[in-house]
Symmetry: C2
Subunit: 282 residues, 2 copies
């Protein structure tokens, strides 16, 4: 099996590691706009060789893991280049615009739109880790538009890598993921900003911050090059979540201002209920 | 050494475990308003015996770990009861109001105001864990108001438990901690609320949420009985942090609305700088 990975960062590189581990006969090639990324990916043995777009006609699988502002053009170009039996998987965090962009492509049936809900706050080839996808949910959109044989090939890979599969239309995906992923990143970035602005003497932050702060602000380490295009592509949904979040914060602030601490208590008690939901997530 | 712990929850119970581990000759007694907490604490061997306030005249150390709305009255009562050489430590998350309330007490020199920056999102005696305080910062306020010999006794305990000591006046403590702890809890609770409200079908949250969401919303599991009084006591500082947080979120929202994704990128890039600060926190 010849696997070509476009974008050898955290997701692409981790996918490469798992493919090599689970399919010993597979040969993994890398394509990346960044020459240092390619060198690093070779050095870390994420990929065997670098490749170019014209090589894709020989590919069994192409896995696209680039920032979402690049993925539409990259995916179209990939579909133009591949052979009849190549499976193309995109792993980006937004799905509506991409699915719309390729809907009329002659090779649409070679394409599978996916979103493995996995990652860390780090990026680049050095961030790749084995078994990143094990036990994680992988959302697949418009599965019916992918050729059945290529669906099977994808499922075999996802299954070996340990992913749980869920099916969803791209619009629902983007709406839901705005709440459980995109909003978390903004809340974390703005929390980080608020504290950094206030505490010019960084030593003070460091000394006073505990594990709770570290946990809520962890996502503020994430890559702007990845996240800015996500907010752009999912603008309407992200704005909706932000409006609701700001509304809830403002309401909570008013409760404190009015010294209605009975209601402050109740607000928190109602939200405590999230415990039972979170217990299944790691 | 006779150690009396008032409030055998996460903090009091964890302190009990560490005292028993590090001072094998110590005898640990428990006082708690909740009878089930006392029973549980005995069953879990956090304490040897339960006690009452009148017993405190024999105490070498009293460690107060109750919600901050109770701690002022509890601390005053404790100071009324103790002997000449008893050390009284309070471990609550706000310090200004408590320090002011005991400033004129005849036994003020027996009292040490502390805040070990440690804990988890869980509460109650079952949440107690060994070594909770190791490597964590312990803020001490108004150290000069505590008798020198009792300071020494406190430092010996804190040192054996592995805490890093920092000194701060109570007002600075409350102002800084509003940013790095109290605000994080509100941002997390309101994030949890926003998502819960939207996703009535909880199965969808569970399936789509990854480790990033779990991390930012973790503190929404925290105890309302602990946190509502903290927001009450530190109202002015908490409102200031909330105003700035809401302001930053609104500004970020406006950037997205105006499609100024260059500035969205820069905002995140500037905040990325928090990486270097967070690396030392676990």
């Amino acid at each position: 099996m010849k696997v070509y990975i476009i974008g050898i960062g955290l997701i692409g590189g981790s996918f490469a590691l798992d493919v090599k581990e689970n399919f010993p006969e597979a040969k993994v090639f890398g394509i990346d706009a960044s020459e240092p990324h390619i060198s690093k990916a070779k050095e870390l043995k994420l990929i065997s060789e670098s490749a170019v777009m014209a090589d894709l006609k020989n590919a069994d699988v192409v896995f696209i893991a680039v920032p979402v502002d690049a993925s539409i053009e990259v995916t179209k170009k990939v579909l133009d280049e591949i052979g009849e039996n190549t499976l193309v998987i995109d792993a980006g965090s937004t799905k509506s615009k991409l699915c719309a962009a390729v809907s009329e492509h002659a090779k649409r049936r070679n394409f599978l739109a996916a979103h493995p809900i996995s990652g860390t706050e780090y990026s680049g080839p050095e961030a790749a880790i084995p078994d990143l996808f094990r036990g994680k949910t992988n959302i697949i959109c418009e599965v019916e538009k992918t050729a059945f044989k290529l669906q099977e090939r994808a499922m075999e890979i996802f299954s070996k890598l340990g992913m749980r599969i869920r099916y969803m239309d791209p619009e629902s995906h983007d709406r839901h993921i705005a709440y459980v992923s995109h909003l978390s990143h903004i809340s974390s970035f703005m929390l980080g900003k608020t504290v950094l602005e206030k505490e010019k003497n960084e030593r003070d932050i460091f000394d006073l911050a505990g594990s709770g702060f570290a946990s809520t602000v962890r996502l503020a380490k994430s890559s702007p090059a990845m996240w800015s295009p996500i907010f752009q592509q999912n603008k309407e949904n992200v704005l909706e979540t932000l409006n609701e979040y700001i509304h809830n914060l403002t309401q909570f602030k008013t409760l404190i201002e009015n010294e209605d601490f009975e209601e402050v208590f109740k607000e928190m008690e109602r939200t405590n209920h999230i415990k039972s939901i979170l217990n299944g997530i790691n």
